[in-house]
């Protein structure tokens, strides 16, 4: 196993073993192993169409798997009751690539939706917490009463993050959070994720192509190719890897330019 992290089981939040996922005769994941450790920001990279989003959706239970085992917070998702699963899912915060905001609700109502459904809070606190999350995500208060169709791409990302944070999740899934943001906005976003991770002890599973995010906030990086995790580890390990795709990814023209500018 390439990704055999020597860590005690209780510090592993997501443990994926021998995962096989396919559509028709095409296998997207073929014997994939992955560990996400408690309190870390894991950056998940891979070429377009290799199945990064498919893996995220499989862990979330949105796509059925053919075989393999997925353990989240120490419970095997195949062997939990509906109620236990709902409790586990309440600890997830998910930010979809396109935001997936409910188009018929305002930003504030979107953020309040999970709180309203799962908790009993006074209307005042409900309003205040929603506004807090909206502001934490970097939106101005006047965006709260806008509908998703009135928001720009970057604002949609932020609103989606605010909703993902609504229940103060333990585990945050981010699908390309900084794509479509300007560099300043992306840096603020990274900063925010890092602050939340430090203060709330958040575990973040982040699918990203943003080399800046990988350099600045990811504790570990896992790379996906050919249906498997080809390498996982902190940035220096990934930089030293001899795998051709990883070499092209981290030592390609764009990343070299960035390093040159950075130094």
């Amino acid at each position: 196993m390439i990704d055999a992290v020597k860590a005690p089981d209780e510090s592993i939040v997501i443990k994926v073993r021998d995962l096989v996922v396919g559509f028709g005769s095409k296998l997207i994941m073929n014997g994939l192993d992955l560990d996400v450790l408690r309190g870390e920001v894991l950056g998940f990279v891979g070429g377009s169409g290799t199945g990064k989003s498919v893996l995220t959706r499989t862990i979330l239970g949105l796509i059925p798997k053919r075989s393999g085992q997925i353990t989240v917070f120490g419970s095997d998702l195949d062997h939990v009751s509906f109620q236990e699963r709902a409790l586990i899912e309440r600890r997830f915060g998910v930010m979809f690539q396109q935001g997936a905001l409910f188009s018929g609700l305002t930003v504030k109502q979107n953020v309040q939706m999970p709180m309203r459904e799962h908790l009993k809070l006074s209307p005042r606190l409900l309003d205040e917490l929603a506004m807090l999350k909206i502001e934490l995500a970097g939106l101005k208060p006047d965006a709260a009463d806008k509908f998703p169709s009135e928001l720009s791409g970057g604002m949609i990302k932020r609103a989606a993050l605010a909703r993902a944070l609504a229940l103060d999740p333990d585990l945050l899934f981010l699908d390309e959070p900084t794509s479509g943001l300007d560099p300043i906005g992306a840096a603020e976003f990274d900063e925010l994720i890092s602050t939340l991770q430090k203060t709330l002890g958040l575990t973040v599973f982040m699918v990203t192509h943003d080399l800046d995010s990988l350099y600045s906030i990811c504790d570990r990086i896992a790379a996906l190719a050919d249906g498997k995790v080809i390498a996982a580890g902190p940035l220096p390990v990934m930089l030293a890897s001899q795998h051709p795709w990883l070499r092209a990814y981290f030592h390609g023209k764009r990343s070299r330019q960035m390093e040159a500018f950075a130094s």
Binding site: G104, A144, F147, S149, E150, D168, L200
Partner: protein, 378 residues
């Protein structure tokens, strides 16, 4: 297991020290709010309050917000409120999720006499605007058709054939079935009611004229408005939502040429054909019922039918069909293009499209009846 959020207080002098315990997290929902309110009430009587964070198990943004809100409302009342034994993480959290005033959050106002009057006014204005939009859209479509006639090579034949299949061919079974049933029902009632007058044979006149002039075309139009009109609105609406229509425009293509004219042409070709199918199956249904229920042989049914209906009755029905198609096509296209960003708006426009189309089909039918009566064409 999560620990309930709670606190203990020990007063000394005019200072009170609150030691906080447990998990101050959002999962405890109402409990943390209640605890914070109790703490606030207990502290109001003193001059100085100390919040001891040392015993807190877990803290999240909700807990930090509430505790900071409590502290700040104490400060606002002139009480010296301080925080102690704060770990660096919680300090950061208190800073990030600290209480701040968002001002008065605007509420949407609703329900007042003025609001009602404003709504009435707005709907009158909208009705006028609808008519105007319909006319201008019709003009645009006519211009587009004119351009197509001048340059027939630009016409999208493939698209036309596809829409003729979905709108026309695939509607044949359901249209034939409902008209067959309605024909049978009209025949049964006609025979049953007319037998009191000994005029059973006139049921054939009833069936023939009613079906050919009105029922065939009306039922078909209503069915197509519900089936294909809704589909057109939904298709155009979701294309609008996903900016596909904008993409067409910036490619230098006119959405009306590409999307609407083929659909409209398909509707105008298919609706008369479907009306013919409807007429025939309704008469066939009437024939079977007259035979089985009224004891009238098919031969005598057909002979009576021939003398009862003229070619005019048939043509009146058929002439109306393309106009019905135009009404349905225009309304469903306008409604489709009126869709805004949200899924709700799509649902609303599809509903509006179907309701308006059916209403307008019936209104247009009424106008045609008056028109044919005044030119003495029957």
């Amino acid at each position: 297991m999560p620990q309930d959020p709670r606190f203990s207080s020990e007063p000394f002098g005019d200072t009170i020290r609150f030691s906080l315990f447990g998990d101050w997290t959002i999962g405890a929902s109402r409990t943390i709010e209640a605890a914070a309110e109790r703490l606030l009430a207990a502290a109001l009587a003193t001059r100085c309050a100390i919040l001891d964070f040392g015993g807190i198990g877990r803290l999240d943004t909700a807990g930090a917000w509430l505790l900071d809100r409590t502290r700040q409302s104490l400060v606002a009342k002139g009480i010296d409120a301080r925080v102690e034994k704060l770990t660096p993480e919680y300090g950061l959290l208190l800073k990030e999720a600290g209480y701040r005033d968002f001002g008065v959050l605007p509420r949407r106002r609703h329900g007042s006499l003025i609001g009602l009057l404003a709504d009435v006014g707005a709907s009158v204005v909208n009705a006028g605007r609808d008519f105007f939009n319909g006319m201008s859209f019709l003009g645009e479509v006519m211009a587009s058709i004119g351009r197509t006639i001048l340059a027939p090579r630009r016409f999208r034949l493939t698209s036309l054939v596809v829409h003729m299949e979905t709108i026309g061919l695939r509607s044949v079974p359901i249209i034939a079935l409902i008209n067959f049933l309605v024909g049978g029902i009209v025949a049964q009632q006609g025979i049953f009611q007319l037998q009191y007058f000994g005029a059973t044979a006139f049921a054939v006149n009833l069936i023939g004229i009613l079906i050919l002039r009105e029922m065939g075309v009306l039922l078909t139009s209503i069915m197509i408005a519900g089936r294909s009109g809704a589909a057109i609105t939904a298709e155009l609406g979701s294309m609008k939502m996903r900016e596909e229509i904008d993409a067409l425009t910036v490619m230098g293509l006119r959405p009306i040429d590409v999307l609407i004219v083929p659909r409209l042409a398909a509707l105008m070709i298919c609706l008369p054909l479907l009306t013919f199918v409807a007429d025939m199956s309704a008469i066939f249904g009437g024939l079977l019922v007259a035979w089985g229920y009224g004891g009238m042989s098919p031969e005598s049914f057909l002979i009576r039918l021939q003398s009862a209906v003229s070619l005019h009755s048939f043509l009146i029905g058929m002439i109306k069909a393309p106009f019905m198609a135009l009404v349905i096509g225009i309304i469903s296209s306008i409604e489709g293009l009126a869709v805004e960003g949200s899924a709700e708006s799509l649902g609303r426009q599809v509903t509006t499209s179907v309701v308006k189309s059916i209403f307008m089909v019936i209104v247009v039918d009424g106008f045609f009846t008056m028109f044919f009566a005044s030119i003495k064409y029957f």
